[in-house]
Symmetry: C2
Subunit: 179 residues, 2 copies
């Protein structure tokens, strides 16, 4: 194993540990020292690989973010198809869905260029896509409820097989929005 491979290996270990910790506690609640302790390094070593800390979130989120952008860029024949795709997306990236939907964008002021800046509006865009323009109050409530149902269902059941979660949540989300 070359030194370069070793570097990539620890990089992966750090990413895996960070992904897990972020999913548990949220982005801001996890320090570099926490991640370092989880992989048996010092926080300086973690900072060496991911500098600044934002880079960790960026790399962890990147695949899911691309997927979400593709989702938002697609056309759907109706809310059922949209919810089906969104649920599939949420299940596919359930390890990081929490970061995408609230954690990072949660704070009020994210520095420009940070991942939070790009992510901030994801939830809002999903809502607009689902609720449509000028939604009625009832539709607004149902849209947020549907999105929340998927997110909560996905985050809290990481030990349930993905197919079960996806199928169940798709039905649930549709049921909410059509209730």
């Amino acid at each position: 194993m070359t030194t370069l491979d070793q570097g990539n290996a620890t990089r992966s270990r750090i990413l895996a540990a960070a992904r897990e910790l972020f999913a548990e506690r949220g982005y801001a609640a996890v320090s570099l020292a926490d991640i370092a302790a989880a992989v048996g390094l010092t926080k300086t070593a973690v900072a060496y690989h991911f500098h600044p800390k934002d880079r960790l979130a960026t790399e962890i989120i990147a695949p899911a973010a691309d997927d979400l952008l593709a989702l938002l860029g697609s056309e759907f024949s109706g809310h059922r198809e949209f919810l089906r795709s969104f649920t599939a997306f949420a299940v596919r990236h359930r390890a990081v869905i929490r970061l995408l939907t609230e954690d990072i964008g949660g704070a009020d002021s994210a520095p420009p260029g940070s991942p939070g800046e790009a992510i901030r509006e994801f939830g809002r865009e999903l809502f607009l896509r689902l609720a449509g323009p000028d939604p009625s109050p009832g539709t607004r409530v149902r849209a947020w409820a549907a999105l929340g149902a998927v997110q909560s269902g996905v985050v809290k059941t990481t030990d349930v097989p993905a197919e079960v979660v996806e199928e169940t949540l798709t039905a649930a989300a549709v049921a909410v929005f059509e209730s």
Copy 2:
């Protein structure tokens, strides 16, 4: 206005500002200085009234927590009645529901005696109450989805009249759990 009344008045103003800021950004993301700035005081003045910071969360949450404990202590003839009561509770306390359901209990380690310590298990207890003992994977997913739907629907629509939210979300939650 006596000095004591004045003290209580500023106390209330601090509580109101804190409630608002916590609902927006979450508990950990709001500092005493933020709250102080919102009410035109220094952080030391805020600390004088609420010492330690936990006391702020405790006082803000207390009414909702009592209500929730009553809910958890009640008997219900079925999941519909339970969800109806839970939704009513969530709407009634929608200004602080975010703190109750995730924010404070979200971190992994809360010091013993802190509000987080008491609140930590609220979400889990609600889940157990809804899903029942030994739930199937599908029931687990649906239970979490229903709770998430109510929470999300309540938090994101604070400008919608409470009756509309309550009625809509009750139907939505039931639809999720029966989907």
